[in-house]
Amino acid sequence: MMLMLLIFLAGELRFALHEEPKTTDPLMMADESAEAIRYLTEGVLIRINRLTQKPEPELATSWKISKDSTKITFQLRENVTSDEVVKTFRRLLDPALHSPIADTFKTEKGTVKVSAQGPSTVIAEFPSPTASLEIMFDQVAIGSGLGPFLVAERKPGVSIILKRNPAYWKKPLPLIDTIRIDIEQNRDLELLRFKRGEIQLIDKLTPDLFERVPEAIDAGPTLDSEFLWFNQAQRAPIPEYTKEWFRSTAFRRAVSQGIQRADLCRVVYRGHATPALGPVAPSNKLWFKQGLTPEVFDPAAAAKLLASDGFRLEKGTLRDRSGHSVEFSIVTNSGSKTRERMAAMIQEDLGKLGIKVNIVTLDFPSLIERMTRTLNYEACLLGFVNVDPDPSELMNILLSSASNHPWNPSEKTPETAWEAEIDRLMLAQAATADYPTRKKNFDRVQEILREQEPVIYLLHPNSLSAVSKQVIGVKPTTFFPHTYWDAEHLTVKP
């Protein structure tokens, strides 16, 4: 009866994405917009419940993990065949595709093998014991159009209309008929439209707008992080002497010590963020390495560290051994006021060390082009959206061979001993289901990242969102997507 009433209420859900999805290929999606579309339109074998953090059956009705954690057997629903699943994995793991999701399925002994056992049974075999096998399958879209919604209309740069999928297996869901997703880069305009009732959800509210929305919700610390890194790639077309600074651990650590993280949280995030110690947020109780010393803002210690590495301060300007003045640019995406403000604060903080920082905001495609292809940048300020608390989620960032390895992408062999150690530990933690062993390996990874600081982790923002009273059933979480993770259950009051 209640369900019937909700179906009666079903209407159009409207919200905005800040970027046009970069690709429509569900196996290649790496940006947040594309992931949102994938989440709403594609089916996966297992879905992680964003609220409980527990795996739930989706296209697989059940699954069984072998005792040695090397094999997972899925029983499939009627609407999906084992051939479809096998075909999907064959494509995903094809090295020619360069899928960022495929990195998750790599271990030190090789990659996963997926085979069909009859029409409704699929077996995924890992070359070695692998932890949290089932969680990995949350990201792999099987076949096409098996999710709760279908893309009905797409106007590039304007909007994407999703319609309920009549063939969706969870009958009679979804409750809403359509989802209208507008592409709205400007967050202030997004807020204005929310206030006017043109959109009903803001999945990620910026901290400066939080106080202006009575319906705003702070769901607590996320696993996401905002960070800064220096370009250490050998082939980067930047002066050799700057590469030398960036490859110096002392330089990176001094920069890290020279940044007031607490101010970034208090001033830019208005208290809705926590200073970061590494890639893992302290709220991730299971995997956070306890005992990591927080980075204390200490310009004197930073100056000492720089002096130990041959840098010297001359008339307020820091110079390296060869006399070059230390000056570099930080690129970030235009349109993100939060990052622009963070960059401005970092600029002032590092100015006190005699380092001159230039801030460059670039439109996102130009930024990605520089980060991944031309490598023509010096330092970059960006964020990472972390969906899964498991360390395997970080494989496509921390493995030196990964294309998303920020400071030196797609290394053929690890260029430093500590990167080789991270590779070994990450692959080792992924190759066992034994929690203490995994924790020990991953703790060491966190220690190395803290010692070497190839990425200067700045803060972990809280999950801020806004939900109109028109939308019924929203349960905001700290994981992406924060508000529409169970879109099929939502209804909209007329």
């Binding site: 006021k337 604060m345 439109d363």
Partner: protein, 261 residues
């Protein structure tokens, strides 16, 4: 008539005051991190921004940046327009220059600026970056004034006094007859172009692609208005008022021809 003259004088005085005030030394970049988003007070007459920077200091320094660079870009445009429009009006490479002017007028300059911005070396100081942007504006904006200059030169070349000067064998046609008669047109073009470039910078600033931090400009100061909230913070409106007053003043300071019959 007296009223118009009075308005013009007030506008000129206002622009002089603005220009002189803009030259005051200001600490526009200092972050008072304990007072972000503060309202107007004795210490901060227009309050502080999100990072605790004094809004008044930023407005004054931003005025310097916007006015100085817009004026420089306008002078560059007008000089190019004078040279090319003069050549075209005299019949030298007329078709080529007109074709180039049409091409420049049809260019989507905003996208061109975005593209140039993406190709710029990253490690340049904000001042150099904004100078390059205005240089681009200046180089792109010659077409319209050049067409006006060309038309004026053609008209002057066909005029009776030029014919007489040529007939008497005057050797100073250009310096004595042509340039003095084209100058008022160039001045008018300059006064029209300056506010156009100020607004162009404002547009780029609103898109977050204008003057880089920590340098202020009218464009990035106006970005604060994007989120609304003016009802509770009316002092945020100060850059808009100043921009409107300056643009308005530029529009009234030069004498317009009275074409009424």
């Amino acid at each position: 008539m007296i009223c118009t003259k009075m308005i013009r004088r007030i506008a000129i005085c206002f622009l002089i005051v603005v220009a002189l005030t803009a030259l005051l030394p200001m600490r526009y970049e200092h972050q008072f991190r304990d007072s972000p988003n503060a309202g107007p007070s004795r210490q901060f007459l227009l309050g502080t921004d999100d990072l605790g920077r004094d809004r008044l200091s930023r407005l004054i320094y931003g005025t310097r940046v916007s006015l100085l660079l817009a004026t420089s870009a306008a002078i560059l445009s007008c000089l190019a327009a004078a040279a090319l429009g003069g050549l075209a009006g005299s019949g030298i490479a007329d078709k080529l220059i007109l074709g180039a002017a049409d091409l420049f007028l049809s260019l989507p300059w905003l996208f061109l600026l975005l593209m140039v911005r993406a190709f710029l070396p990253l490690n340049v100081s904000p001042l150099i970056s904004v100078t390059i942007t205005f240089l681009m504006l200046g180089l792109l904006g010659w077409a319209t004034p050049a067409k006006v200059v060309r038309a004026a030169v053609r008209k002057l070349n066909a005029s009776d006094f030029m014919l007489q000067a040529r007939a008497t064998g005057s050797s100073r046609l250009l310096s004595k007859h042509l340039i003095p008669n084209v100058m008022p047109i160039l001045w008018a073009q300059l006064w029209i172009t300056i506010p156009a470039y100020v607004l162009a910078e404002t547009t780029l600033g609103m898109l977050g692609l204008g003057v880089m931090e920590p340098l202020p400009s009218w464009g990035n100061l106006l970005r604060e208005l994007e989120g609304g909230g003016i009802a509770n913070h009316p002092w945020l409106f100060a850059p808009v008022l100043l921009l409107a007053a300056v643009i308005g003043s530029f529009q009234v300071i030069f004498e317009r021809e009275d074409y009424s019959v």
